[in-house]
Symmetry: C2
Amino acid sequence: MTDTDRLNIDLGERSYPIHIGPGLLGQPGLLTGSLPGGADVMLVSNETVMPLWGARAEAALAGRRVARCVLPDGEAHKTMATLGVVLDALVEARMNRDCIVVALGGGVVGDIAGFAAACYQRGVAYAQVPTTLLAQVDSSVGGKTGVNHPGGKNLIGAFHQPVVVIADTDTLGTLPDRELRAGIAEVIKYGVLGDADFFGWLEHNVGRLLQREPKALGYAIRRSCEMKAAIVGRDEREQGERALLNLGHTFGHAIESGAGYGAWLHGEAVAAGMLLAAEFSRRVRGLPGVDVARLRDLLVRAGLPVDPPRLGAARALELMRMDKKVKAGRIRLVLMDRIGEAILTDDYPPAALEGLLAEAMGEAA
Amino acid sequence: MTDTDRLNIDLGERSYPIHIGPGLLGQPGLLTGSLPGGADVMLVSNETVMPLWGARAEAALAGRRVARCVLPDGEAHKTMATLGVVLDALVEARMNRDCIVVALGGGVVGDIAGFAAACYQRGVAYAQVPTTLLAQVDSSVGGKTGVNHPGGKNLIGAFHQPVVVIADTDTLGTLPDRELRAGIAEVIKYGVLGDADFFGWLEHNVGRLLQREPKALGYAIRRSCEMKAAIVGRDEREQGERALLNLGHTFGHAIESGAGYGAWLHGEAVAAGMLLAAEFSRRVRGLPGVDVARLRDLLVRAGLPVDPPRLGAARALELMRMDKKVKAGRIRLVLMDRIGEAILTDDYPPAALEGLLAEAMGEAA
C-alpha cells in the first residue's frame, strides 16, 4: 500500500476519494468499499478496454449482481445514440434507483456512463475507473459528464459527481503511445495555468512519463488532480475560476470539431490550442517570448502536435463561437501573463484574434 | 392585479416564484421580469398550444431574440427522440449558456423542455408557463423533468428547477374537458394525502372547478402548489416525505404503461390508482370504509374513471416493480390511515397486494 495515494475531493455531501497507484483495481474491497452495500452494478466499458480489464473489475465486484454494457470505442461514438445504449441496458437489467454505474475506460466511457447515471431515474450513483492518463488527470475530477452533438463538443450533459475514483497506474500499461502523449498534454496544462514549479518538474521528467515510470506517473497524476480539485472545489458549477481549466480548449475544441471528431485526440488538440493561446498571450498580454518557446519545446519533446490544421480563420472563429464560455457574443479566452499565471478574459482586440487565426490556420478553408 | 397570487418556492439559491391568476401571460414584464436581462429565449410548445398561446407569449418576450420549437402533442411523444428535437433546435439557434428555455404547454412540454434545459450545455435556465390544470398543480413545483422509456415512465430525466412559473388561469379556457378532469384528480390527491379540510372543500366545490370558475380554480391551484412546495422544500431530492406525492402513482403508472401511453391520461390513471391505494389501505391499514366511499364519490362526480383496465395481476405487478420507489426488491406504496393522512410503507403482506390486483385487474392478461 506504500505506493497508494488517496486524495479527497471535498465537495460537502458530494465528496469522494481518488485512489492513485499501481495494482488498485485488483485490491479487494477498494472499489466495493466505497459503494453502497449490496447495490447492483452496471459495468460500462468499451470493446477495447473490457477484454483487458473487465475481468479484474468483476473480480473486485464479487458478491454483487453485475450486468455489463460494452460500447464501441472512440470519440465518434460519444453521442446521444450511445447514451441510449447505456440507458437501454439499465432498463433491460431492471436496475433500480439504488444501483451503481461503474465506468471502466477512458474519458469517453466515463463521460457517457456518468451522463447515463445522471439521467437514469433522475440520478443514480456512479464510480469511475479511468484507464487512460487523460481520464485520470482530467475527467476524474470535476463531475462533468456528457456527449457531443454534431453542432459542437460536450454540448449535452450534466454535472454529476462520482462516489469514488480508482486511478490504477497499471492500466496505463496497455495504453497506446499516442494516447499517453495526449494525456501528458493535459498534465502540462496544469503547470502552465497555475504552477511554474510543476512546469519545471515536467521539463526535467517528461522522458520518465513517456517511459511510463510508475512513480513519475503517480506524481504527475496526483499533482494534476490536486490542482484541478482545488479549483473545482472553489467553483463547482463553473462560474469563474474553473474556466482556467479550459486553457487551450477554446482553440482546441475548434480544432477537434473542425477536423472531424476522432481525427485529432482531445489532448493533441489541447496541445496545439495551448500554443495558440500562448502566442496570442504574447501579442495581447505581454507573455514573454521565452515562455512561448519553453511551452513549444516541452510539447514537442512530449511528441505532441503544435501546428493546428488549416481550417481557415472564418471556420475556426465560427466553431469558437459555439464555446460555452461565450458571453453576450464575446469569445472569452484563457490567456497567460507568464507560465503558471492564467486569466479568463475577453479584453483583447477582436482583430488580433482574427489575425492570429488567419496566420496559423489560413485565410479560408 | 387583485386576482394575482404570488407563491414563493423556497429552495435556497434555487428559489423561484409561481404567479397564479387570470391574464398573467399578457401582463408586461411578469415573465421577462424574472429572467436574466437580455438572454435569448427558446420558446418550446406543441402543435396544439403554440397556435393558441404562442403569440401572447412572444408578445410578453418582446425585445429579446426568440426562437420557436414546436413539438408533436401527447404523452406518446415524451421520448428521447423528442428531447433530441429540442436539443437540435437549441444548437441550430446557436443558443449560449446564458439562454433561457420557456416551456409553454402541459406537463409533457414542461418535462421535455425542462430536461433539455437541464442537459443543454450541462444546464441552462428555464421558465414554465403551464397551460393545463395538471401541469399548474403538479409539474410547476418540484423540478422534476424527464422523458419516458419503452421500459417505464419517467425513467430518464433530471432534477432542474425553473426560474419562474406563470400559471395563467385564462389558459385553462382552451383546455378540453377530459384534461380538466384529469387535473382535478391531481388536486384531489393533495386533499387525500395531507389536508382533510381541503378534501371537504373539494367535495363542496368540484362543480365550480368543472365550470372553470376562475376564483375556485385559483384557490385549488394555490392550495395544491402550497402543499407540494411545503413537502418538496423539506425533501428536494426525494429521499423520504416527498414520496407521499406519489399517492396513487405506483398503481397509476402501471395502468398508464400497461394500457399503452396515451390511452389513459396521467390524471385518469392516478384517479383509478388512488382508489386502488384506498381500497388496499382499508384492507391492510384499517382505513375506514366510509373514506374509501367518499373518495370514490368525489372521483365519480369529477367525471374520473375509478376502475382500472384488466391488465392481469401478474402484468400489473411486473410494471409496479419498475417503480422508482422499489427498494431491495420491495414495492413501497403510499397508503392512507384516513383521508388527509398518508404514509410510505412496504409493511404489508405481499399476498394481499396480489389478491387486490387479481380482483381489480384480473387473474391473467
